[in-house]
Amino acid sequence: MTTELALFVVAAAIGELLPFPKPRGRDLSISVAVVAASALLGHAVVEVLAVAAGGWAVAAVLRAAQGRSLPLTNLWVATLGALALAGAVAVGRSIPLPELRSGMSVGALAGVWAVILLALPAYEAVSRAGSPARLASSYRTVVRQSAGGAVALASSASLGAIAHGVLGMWSVPLVLFPLLAARVGLARYTQVRVTYDQTVRAMSRLPEELGTVRRGHGVRVGDLAVAVARELGLADAEVTEIERAAHLHELGQIRADLGQPLADRTVALAGASILREAGSLDDVAALVERHRDPYRLAGVGDNAAVSMGARIVRSVCEFDRAAVDVPDGDGWQAIEALHQRSAYEHDPRVLRALTAVLHRQDRLGVAEVRSHA
């Protein structure tokens, strides 16, 4: 029993060191499958916890030997997960359901699948949401993004537990093998996604080389637009799109020659046509194309062709342009200029969210002190 437990700990440590990488958000630890197999085999709660915590500890020591560190959050996620898995197995076993040929309880298996697919993503969703309003949308995104890896983890855990009757403790390291295969595919996918994002960010600096756009404008607008989009409760997929559009909204400037700025609308159209060439950025192109259009039209009302994303990029871009010109980074004056054109050009909802974000980031502080004085 002790040898087997040690084997579980080693397997959990390997899982902790070789997680499924994700393009954005937390990596998915493979150790979950080992812990789940331990729970399925009817180990006591203390033992299941020991596998989770011990795996983290061994992995952390190995990492430290390389001069790197393993996040402490991983330990909380692992122990919380272990408790949830042990609980789900206990509950599942008590439900009268038929058993598999190998004697494994179907209820216990169902409990493990439910925890891995649905309960574990909750932790990341909470830490990512920022506000309670965004919890549901953030949870849906995390569940969707982790689904592939989670299914692989749950089936490997089930497999290890089922094979244990015949393979004995050899089934423990063998749980890891299919997962390591899955990891090869997921890691390559993640690598190219990360490269894609880094390249979009790098390309945001292209127009800045021309001298018509201030240095860092693209990246600043990207960061602020993401915060505003989140504040407005937009879904994660949309936020990503808005971030890319914000990074690339001035791209059309590269059609201009040095020192001769183009009209804003021309820049928007030129940028969109370049992005359409890129093949995979059509949605971003649509956003960039419209980001100079009025959100309201006289005599018509709301301009439905201008999406919320386009409105956000528009206002954040102009805020950034104005804010740099103001002494002491006084955000109020820049915001005020936008408010004065809120009948047609700047959507008041975006301005409200932008103000709230700036307030939280302490970028309106200077003006407040002044107004009190």
Binding site: L100, I162, G168, R205
Partner: protein
């Protein structure tokens, strides 16, 4: 190879069918489906689970079943290839049948007992399976690597290294998978489905990777094209330099990854020109000091733009150093020969070659031969002689022609009296 493989199949299939018809059908179907579900790991190498099922067949049913399980493979290959489908199907089937046979021979020689679960999951059994897997994979890889190396001018060893770097992890995994699969067949065949799930996830990831990698390259090309658009004379320059640089890297026997990096470095080598005024880029005649100082900034500006893209680290070096010279008189850093990498030397020479063989606002395109002679003349000081020689061979092989912008297409030839 095809003939030997078909011979092996003719010997083993009847034996396997007599032994257990159902099992034979199941394994032939499994290997065939695995081949049909293969995913590419570089554009000319696929990873599939064929070997896992062949190995499992060996563990469960012995050498006959292992060899026989490859019988349906050729069908997939034949359907996938329009040209020379019969040859390809035979060669592929033969290749897998032979590697299965070699694996089986090694397994038996090492004392492995097919169908005996207890011995398979014992430490000695694992060793025997590992030996069989190694032998099987080695024959398999050598055959594939030899075919690809011939095609791409890579050294067989380099192709092997590159294939191993992409799939070594998978190979280790294969052994484990085969053992688990063999055990599961005894315990609960339904549980085999659970084993397939992580593998499908892996396949999904690899397919997604392929798709994203193509999308990525298209995006980079779109950006490069957008930068070139404002300057009609350099239009297509980056694409041409990218294509030639990749070919020259292949000609010099560089591994696949370096060929890809040469392509990206070449594609992006002039992005820094975004910061140079058009009138300077297109100025006829010599530049004054100020203008030249401006031009000289573009390698550094380009490298700065791209510095945060980890995947392109080596390409960024090419961008930064593509105007350096072997004699140390280049810019921006005046590097010496030992500090200039081979990929950079390739792009430097190809860049100059394409510039000379393209027309500009102020001059006509040079004939290919004259441009090559000019490169040879400057070899040693400015360019790497081995690179220039490789470029010469590549240009001869692909039949390179000078690039004319529309308004130059007719006039210059007539004016100089060279035309027909």
């Amino acid at each position: 190879m095809g003939a030997a493989g078909v011979g092996l199949l003719a010997l083993t299939v009847p034996a396997a069918v007599t032994d257990s018809p159902v099992r034979t059908v199941v394994f032939v179907a499994a290997v065939t489906l695995a081949e049909a579900a293969s995913a590419r790991v570089r554009h000319d190498v696929s990873a599939s689970l064929d070997n896992v099922f062949i190995l499992t067949a060996l563990l469960v049913g012995g050498p006959e079943l292992a060899v026989a399980s490859t019988a349906g493979l050729g069908l997939v290959v034949a359907i996938r290839n329009r040209q020379r489908w019969l040859v390809r199907a035979l060669v592929n089937t033969g290749q897998f049948a032979i590697s299965a046979y070699v694996g089986a021979v090694v397994f038996t020689a090492a004392g492995g007992v097919p169908g005996d679960l207890d011995s398979i999951i014992s430490p000695e059994g694992l060793g025997q399976t590992l030996a069989a897997a190694l032998a099987l994979t080695l024959v398999n890889y050598l055959a594939v690597a030899a075919a690809i190396a011939l095609d791409r001018h890579e050294r067989v060893a380099d192709t092997l290294t590159s294939m191993l770097a992409r799939t070594a992890m998978l190979q280790v995994v294969y052994v484990g998978l085969s053992v688990v699969a063999a055990a599961l067949i005894e315990i609960d065949p339904v549980a085999l489905a659970l084993l397939l799930v992580p593998l499908l996830v892996a396949r999904h990831g690899l397919l997604g990777f392929q798709e994203q990698a193509e999308a990525y390259e298209r995006m980079v090309r779109a950006f490069v094209k957008a930068i070139e658009v404002k300057d009609g004379y350099t239009r297509g320059h980056a694409e041409r330099v990218a294509k030639l640089s990749e070919l020259v890297a292949a000609e010099l026997g560089r591994p696949y990854d370096e060929q890809v990096m040469a392509r990206y470095g070449a594609l992006l080598h002039d992005v820094g020109k975004i910061g140079v005024p058009l009138c300077v880029i297109n100025k006829p005649g010599p530049l004054d000091d100020d203008e030249f100082a401006h031009i000289k900034t573009h390698p550094r500006v380009g490298a700065e733009l791209l510095r945060d893209i980890e995947f392109l680290t080596e390409a960024v070096e090419i961008v930064r150093a593509h105007h350096e010279r072997l004699d140390g008189a280049g810019y921006p850093n005046g590097l010496s020969a030992s500090q200039i990498g081979l990929l950079t030397r390739i792009v430097t020479a190809v860049d100059a070659f394409d510039a000379m063989t393209s027309s500009r606002s102020y001059r006509r395109a040079m004939p290919v031969r004259a441009a090559l002679d000019e490169l040879y003349r400057c070899a040693g000081g400015q360019f790497d002689p081995t690179v220039v020689a490789a470029l010469d061979r590549v240009v001869a092989e692909v039949g390179w022609t000078p690039t004319f912008t529309p308004e130059h297409r007719e006039a210059p030839l007539a004016a100089s009296g060279v035309g027909s």
